[in-house]
């Protein structure tokens, strides 16, 4: 499993699409300077989405190299193969959380505002977005191929868009102050459950043979 985790993590970093990074950087900079005190939160969401997308994009290089055919000849079980991919996703969740802390720190310095709730909300978003994104897209990849996951990855952007709209146009985080903590805990638990179920579904999909 160690070797495959190394492979998946390396692919994540080495196959980063420069265009994707450029778009994300531009979007994050724009958010930081236009979103006021919510800059750290929006930047965290954007960064987490980029990480979720990159996890799926790294499958493209697996397909290009016909890696699966080679991997099937190795002395490793289907569960190990799929689990190693999920473990590598967890590593990237850590990066997402670190990014969130950095963006919120930057936002706090620029706008001279420290709101613990926004910080927590950002970190939870940085945790759950890559988990849910890959939790949905990885089973699709293992069952129907990388292209279907790529399409679904784009569809996942839509709820994110409404999430941002809610904060920009709606009452914002102050309206949900009383229930915010319980929302965050429930969301994190749901994300973990989705991720766990996704691992099982992916393993079944990967194990299918002609």
């Amino acid at each position: 499993m160690r070797g495959l985790i190394y492979k998946d993590t390396s692919i994540f970093f080495k196959s980063i699409d420069k265009k994707l990074i450029l778009i994300a950087v531009v979007a994050i900079v724009l958010l930081i300077f236009n979103a006021g005190i919510y800059a750290g939160l929006f930047a965290s969401v954007m960064f987490a989405m980029t990480i979720g997308m990159q996890n799926i994009m790294s499958f493209a290089s697996d397909e290009k190299a016909s890696w699966k055919k080679y991997q099937l000849a190795m002395p490793i079980s289907s569960f190990t193969v799929v689990a190693s991919k999920y473990v590598s996703v967890l590593y990237t969740v850590a990066i997402s959380i670190l990014g969130s802390i950095a963006f919120n720190g930057l936002s706090s310095v620029i706008f001279q505002n420290f709101d613990m709730l926004i910080w927590l909300f950002s970190i939870v978003a940085a945790f759950i977005i890559p988990l849910i994104w890959t939790g949905i897209c990885l089973p699709l990849t293992y069952w129907f191929g990388f292209r279907s996951a790529q399409t679904m990855g784009l569809i996942v952007v839509i709820p994110m868009f409404y999430f941002v709209k809610y904060f920009e146009d709606g009452p914002g985080i102050s309206a949900m102050l009383n229930s915010a903590y319980s929302y965050m805990i429930v969301a994190a638990i749901v994300a973990v459950i989705i991720f766990g179920i996704s691992l099982v579904v992916s393993t079944i999909g990967y194990s299918q043979k002609n």
């Binding site: 160690r2 070797g3 190394y6 080495k14 055919k69 000849a73 190795m74 043979k209």
Partner: protein, 287 residues
Amino acid sequence: MDNNILVQNLCKQFEDFSLDNVSFKVPKGRIVGFIGENGAGKSTTINLILNELNKDSGQIQVFGIDHTIPTVKENIGVVFDECNFHDVFTTADIEKILKGVYKTWDSGLFSQYLKKFKIPTKKTIGTFSKGMKMKLSIICAMAHRPKLLILDEATTGLDPVVRDEVLDLFWEFIQDEDCSIFFSSHITSDIQKIADYVILIHRGKIIFEEQKDNLVYNYGVSKCRKEKFAQFSADDYIIHRTTNMSVECLVRDKEVFKKKYKNIIVDNATLEDIMLFYVKGGTSCED
């Protein structure tokens, strides 16, 4: 257990192709060449041995145990017709990956092979030539000291110099009497150079499983006019093909044939000749 691979009555049905009662063995200490035209069933057989496809019926044993037992693969090195490593990796990355997969991975042997075959260690695989990529695939297949190498068209597309280097490496590998190579190719000259046994598969059926020396030293091709051919007994040749002017026959024992038909010229048969006779044999072709 004298065989590293034993396949018995293997069947696999697809919509447009089927493997039909395929049986053969790969003895220890031997190189077995698996020849046949494209689409004959070579890769399907290999995929079934590696448990990448489900068989419909039949038995496959590797090292004397069922091929579906995952630990079997610990002692198998596999090379496919293309390099399956990502372009962004270096040889150091590949080593880290495979070291974490194979318990018996030998880092010393890996770097020794890299040096021997002058594989760049700093560059990414995407910058390698096709020959270098294939050499790296072969090195990786051998660096965990497997007992069985399975090569699926591994030398296809290589230039003669690289091919020769690779064949030498196989010779070195087979010096250990417990090791075997199962080598599929449609380049029969490679098989003729290194194989001990040859298996010909055609349209999903095994046509023959013979010692290579028997094929190369005893088989022959006779060419004669149609009138002369009429004198031949059907028992004296395996297969014939008719051209506009003459008839060519594949004979099992050229010396016996020469003695019986004194004025007929019988040439040595190469593996390619033999394969072509079986694959295209019996059909009329233009001169």
